[in-house]
Structures are given as C-alpha cells and as structure tokens.
C-alpha cells in the first residue's frame, strides 16, 4: 500500500510540473504582444512596464522566465500590476467563500444523486424512473449561470424568499452564512445531480446482472439487503472516482460562474473580474492553482479508490 501511495505521489509531481510549464506557456508565449506591456495592463505607463520587466525578468530566456514566475507565485509575490494588489493574497482571501460553496454543493448533490440514482435503478422503466430521467436531462442541459440568474430573479427578487447573493463568512453568522448560500448550493448541485444520478443508475443496472448479485439472492438475503449491500456498494466505486474529479474541477474553476452571478467573494469571482479586464497575472495564478488542486485531489481519490476496491490495492488490474 505504501508503495502504491508513493508511486501515485511521484506521478502527481510530474503532472504538476507539466501543468505549470503549460500554464506558463499559455500566458507568456501565446499572446501576441509585448509581454511586459500586456502584464502591466491596459493603462500602463513606461515606468510600470519597466518595473514589470525587471520583476519578472522578461528579457531573459524562457526557462529563466519560467523559474522567476514560479518563484513569484510560490513565494506569494505575484502582483496584479493593473490593480496593484498581491495576487496570491487575493486568492487566499477568496478561498473560504469558494470552499463553502463547493463543499455545501457537493454534499447536496451527492445525497440527492445517490437517492435519485438508487430510486431510478430500482424502479427502472417505470414512471418514477422516467420522471427522474427527464429531470436529470433538463438539469444537465441548463447553463449554470443562467439557472443562477433565473433563481436569483424569481426567488430573490420577485418573491423575496432568499437574499440576493453576497457572501457572509461562517465566523460572522452561521445562520446567515447558510441562508445566503442556499441558492448557490442548489444552483451548483443541479447540474451534477443530473449527471451523477444517471451514472449511478447505469452502474446499478449493470451490477444487477452480475453473478454475485444472483449469489446474494440465492443466499436468501432480503431484496433491500441485496440492493444496498451488493448492488449499491459495488456501483458506488466508480461514482466516487468521478466525484473526486468533479469536486476538484468545481473548486478549481467550475464555481466561477456561480460566484459571479451570486456575487460571492470567492476565487471564482476574482477570476471573473480578471477576465473582464484581461488582467493576466491573477488569471495565471488562478488557473495554476485550480489545476494543481485538481491533480492533487485526483491523487487522493486514486488512493481512496484503492481503499475501497481491494483488487486495486493488491496489484491486480481494475476490472473494466
């Protein structure tokens, strides 16, 4: 097991390195303009541009530039010149809001997805299943930001059921914190409930045809025991991996849209502002951290998968 973990961590480091290189290339090589001028922002004066050049060593060869940039990011010195603020600090300040949003939404979507997926699979082909399938399909066909806007308009403005966005820190008032997050949680969850309930349903329907389910029945277990202890348990394994990927993705950047609409002071909102003003340093940092978080989280999920499925742990290849 220890060797398995070590191998995974090593792989993770390699991927992280590759990602940092790619992000660097995207932000420094692709744009067709003077790098210093671009990073300095739209309203830069020559003095500022010179300063950027000096700080980031933009006149030096690419590999050196890369190292300087990485140093700047990881020592928390990267600055948004256009707004004259420290990028890393801004990101750090946005983390509580982003995590509150993502974790809450994740709990909500997993609970609902398991419930809907299970019901859909058990009542496959009948009304409950069809209804849930339609709901899921509609859920995955809606642009998240549009859904957010609609909920905001109808449930917050027209009918003043919920507050109109903005984030209240947990430490300030737990009640308000949750109250302000209900609509955002729901918005973010809708898309994923649609996806996950369908995946779980499909996995469960496949598992129901497996031999070990037949054995479980032949042993005289009740239907409920068969469904939960054998069908659901085995079907959840791929769902957990998927969850790992998606949760990482949501924190890493998927929450941008929801935060923008609901005006939550998270990392996503910060990124959204940076996009609109084409402010590159914050964007680069957000993309970097986003990707890092995902890779890190995926590695954890890989390890968790091994815990859940003993076949992986003991060196056997995972079944398809």
């Amino acid at each position: 097991m220890a060797r398995f973990v070590a191998r995974r961590l090593l792989g993770m480091t390699a991927v992280l390195f590759a990602i940092s290189v790619i992000v660097f290339l995207i932000f420094n090589v692709i744009p067709n303009s003077d790098p210093a001028a671009r990073i300095a922002g739209k309203n830069a004066d020559p003095a500022l541009i010179a300063r950027v050049n000096a700080d980031l060593g933009l006149d030096k060869p690419l590999p050196v530039q890369y190292l300087t940039m990485m140093k700047q990011i990881f020592t928390g010195q990267l600055t948004s010149y256009a707004k004259d603020r420290n990028v890393v600090q801004q990101i750090w300040e946005g983390v509580p809001a982003t995590f509150s949003l993502c974790i809450g939404a994740a709990v909500l979507w997993m609970s609902l997805a398991i419930l809907f997926g299970y019901l859909s699979a058990v009542h496959a082909g009948r009304f409950a299943d069809r209804a849930l399938t339609i709901l899921s399909l509609v859920g995955i066909s809606m642009p998240v930001f549009w859904l957010a806007a609609m909920l905001l308009y109808f449930l917050s403005f027209k009918v003043e059921l919920f507050p109109t966005g903005s984030y209240v820190p947990l430490t300030e008032s737990p009640g308000d914190w949750a109250y302000h997050l209900i609509l955002p949680w729901f918005t973010l969850a809708v898309l994923f409930v649609g996806i996950y309930s369908r995946v779980l349903r499909s996995n469960m329907l496949d598992a129901m045809n497996e031999d070990y389910v037949r054995t479980a029945r032949a042993k005289g277990l009740s239907e409920r025991q068969v469904r939960i202890r054998h069908v659901l348990r085995n079907s959840m394994i791929p769902v957990i991996t998927l969850f790992g990927l998606d949760f990482g993705m949501v924190v890493g950047g998927g929450a941008i849209l929801t935060e923008t609409v609901y005006n939550l002071d998270g990392v996503g909102l910060y990124a959204g502002e940076a996009i609109r003003s084409l402010d590159l340093p914050p964007l680069m940092a957000v993309v970097m951290f986003g990707a890092f978080f995902i890779v890190f989280f995926n590695t954890i999920v890989d390890i968790l998968y091994a815990v859940l499925d003993p076949r992986i742990r003991l060196g056997e290849a995972a079944p398809a």
């Binding site: 067709n32 809606m142 549009w146």
Partner: protein, 345 residues
C-alpha cells in the same frame, strides 16, 4: 444467443433440416437494426425534429430581419419609438427600461437596453452559437479520431506520448483552460506560422472549445481501437499486405463510426454550454459577434428591470441542448446491442 443455423454441413451429406425454413432468414446489418430501434424511440425522434426546427429558425434570421422586424441585429433604436396597438411607445424608456415582449412584428421579444430587436438578435445569435457548437464538435471529433487511431494502432511510444498529452490537457478543468486560452488568444489573435487568425474571429472560440474536449472523446475511442486491434480481421488485413493507413480507414474506422456519431451529437450540446459560459464571462465569443451567451451576459446587467433579456436566450440554449442530449441518448440506446433483450412480454 440463438441462431437458426450454426453448423456447416460436411460435403456430401444431405441438407440438414432445422426448425426455421432458410427463406425466412434475412441478413440484417447492425446499422439496419440500430435504425429500427431508433425508429421506435418516438421521444428521441421528436427531439431530433426540435433541433432541426431550431436550426431552421436561426437560419431564417435574415428573412425575419428584413421582412418582419425591419431591422438588423446590431442596429440601435435607443431613441426611436414604435407603433404598438395604435400607440406610440418608446423603444427604450427614459429610465433605461427597454420594451418588453408582445405580439408585434417589430420587437416581438422586446428590445435590449441598447434598443436592439431581441428577436432578431436571438436568431442571429443562435446562428453563432450553433455554428460554434457544430464547428467545434467537428474539430474535436476529427482530432480525437486521428489521435485515437494513431495511439491505438501503433501503440508503443506513439501511444505513450499521445496519451500523456491527452492526460495533461484533461488535467485542466475545461472551463479554466477555455478561459486561459480564450483570454490569451483574444489579445492579438493566433499567429502560428502560416495560420493567422484575428483575435475576435469566431475561429478562436471554435478551436479552443474543439481542443478542450479532445481527450474526453479520444480516450474511449482509443480503448475501442485497442480492443479491435486484437481481432483477427486486422491480422488478416495485415497479412494481405494492407498498409497502416488503409487498415485504419477501411477496417478500424467503420467499426468506431457508431461511437463517434453518438459522441459527436452529445459533443455539440457540451460545446454550446461551454461556449455560452465562456461568452458570458467574456472569454468566448467577442464583440462584434453575438451569441446566446453574450446576450445573457448583456441581459444580466438589467435582469431586475428587463428579465426577458436573460430568460429568452437561456431558454433557447436549454431547448437546443436538451433536444441534442435526448436525441444523443436515443442514438446511444439504438446502437447498444444490449438493448436487444429489453422487450417486455
């Protein structure tokens, strides 16, 4: 499963009677069977029709603009008035509230805060959204198939390199990568050797969205190619002296077409959602082009006073994406042989 005749007669032996007369047995290709199954799925067919209708609707934009609304998508009528029910009404009220939807030829769906006809913009914007979605899906599919064929057929280091590249692209959250590329490429455009694309061209979002989903499609297809490769008909083709290209085109490709078609359909839906998200944030379709995503972005500014500007383009996206998803699902069910044993008694 059961087949009527499953033995070859030894030469010289009398014909062997079985339960079913030979004349009744028709050869039915998998395509025909899939088509039969699809035909039975009324819901999927309806959705396909809905999608086609939406496309036609958007294509009819110039007709509507000229003959019904008498205005273009970018024409400003902010200071104009229109005749509605015999009364002269401001297109945009003095306090900035634009005209709402109603049953009149001009401004059927109202106006936006710049006095532009929403219906006309909706149709033109739809053309952009659907065009980007389709074109990007083509880009993704072509690239993914090439990558999958090469990686799956040659295996070895070619596969290793391609797979690692796919993994790394896929390590980026789709939205973030789209934002990263969308913003950087919009500054000054793309200049790669002979290829020059302007920063505000539609091809920037098309290429970005197309690229971002390549790993998602390439991986399963590569898996299929790897499996197909082990089958005897490939060995036979190699033994016949067919070169790699011919094998890829005449032996491997036909077998993955059904998977590719399903992915292509569902991909259009994903692309449209991604495009609208990127455009909403400002990293996708850029002015002067307009798409449903940019319309929502504009409309969101005045959502409390003019909700129709946000509701309408969003509904169009939902309708289009939903119909594609349902039809894609139906296609997948039709191509899946396991569907064979699902009839009720």
């Amino acid at each position: 499963m059961v087949s009527p005749i499953d033995s070859l007669e030894a030469p010289g032996e009398p014909p062997i009677p079985t339960g079913v007369p030979v004349a009744q047995i028709q050869g039915r290709s998998p395509w025909y069977l899939a088509w039969l199954r699809l035909r039975r799925n009324k819901v999927a067919l309806v959705c396909a029709a809905v999608f086609v209708l939406i496309v036609l609707f958007c294509l009819a934009a110039p007709l509507w603009a000229e003959h019904v609304a008498h205005t273009g998508p970018n024409e400003n009528h902010i200071t104009d008035t229109v005749m509605i029910d015999g009364q002269e009404t401001d297109v945009v009220a003095p306090d900035g509230t634009p005209l709402g939807p109603g049953l009149h030829g001009k401004f059927l769906l109202g106006a936006d805060q710049n006095g532009r006809d929403v219906m006309v913009r909706l149709m033109y914007g739809g053309r952009t959204s659907i065009y980007v979605g389709l074109a990007a899906a083509l880009v993704t599919t072509i690239l993914a198939v090439i990558v999958a064929l090469l990686a799956g057929y040659y295996r070895g280091w070619i596969d290793a390199v391609l797979s690692r590249t796919m993994d790394i692209i896929w390590a980026f959250p789709v939205l973030l990568l789209g934002i990263a590329l969308g913003t950087t490429l919009s500054i000054g455009g793309l200049k790669a050797g002979p290829i020059q694309i302007a920063g505000d061209s539609l091809w920037i979002p098309i290429l970005i969205i197309g690229l971002v989903y390549v790993p998602y499609v390439a991986r399963p297809i590569r898996g299929e190619i790897l499996a197909l490769r082990e089958k005897e008909f490939i060995e036979a083709a190699v033994a016949q002296g067919k070169g790699p290209l011919r094998i890829m085109f005449s032996e491997l490709m036909p077998n993955i077409v059904s998977t590719v078609v399903v992915f292509f359909t569902l991909n259009i839906a994903n692309n449209m959602l991604l495009e609208s998200a990127l455009s909403f944030l400002g990293a996708g379709v850029r002015p002067p082009n307009a798409s449903w995503g940019t319309m929502i972005s504009d409309g969101y500014q005045v959502i409390f006073t003019a909700p129709h500007l946000t509701v309408v383009p969003g509904l169009m996206i939902v309708a289009t994406v939903l119909s594609l998803n349902v039809f894609g699902d139906g296609l997948r069910d039709a191509m899946d042989p396991r569907a064979k044993i699902r009839l009720e008694h």
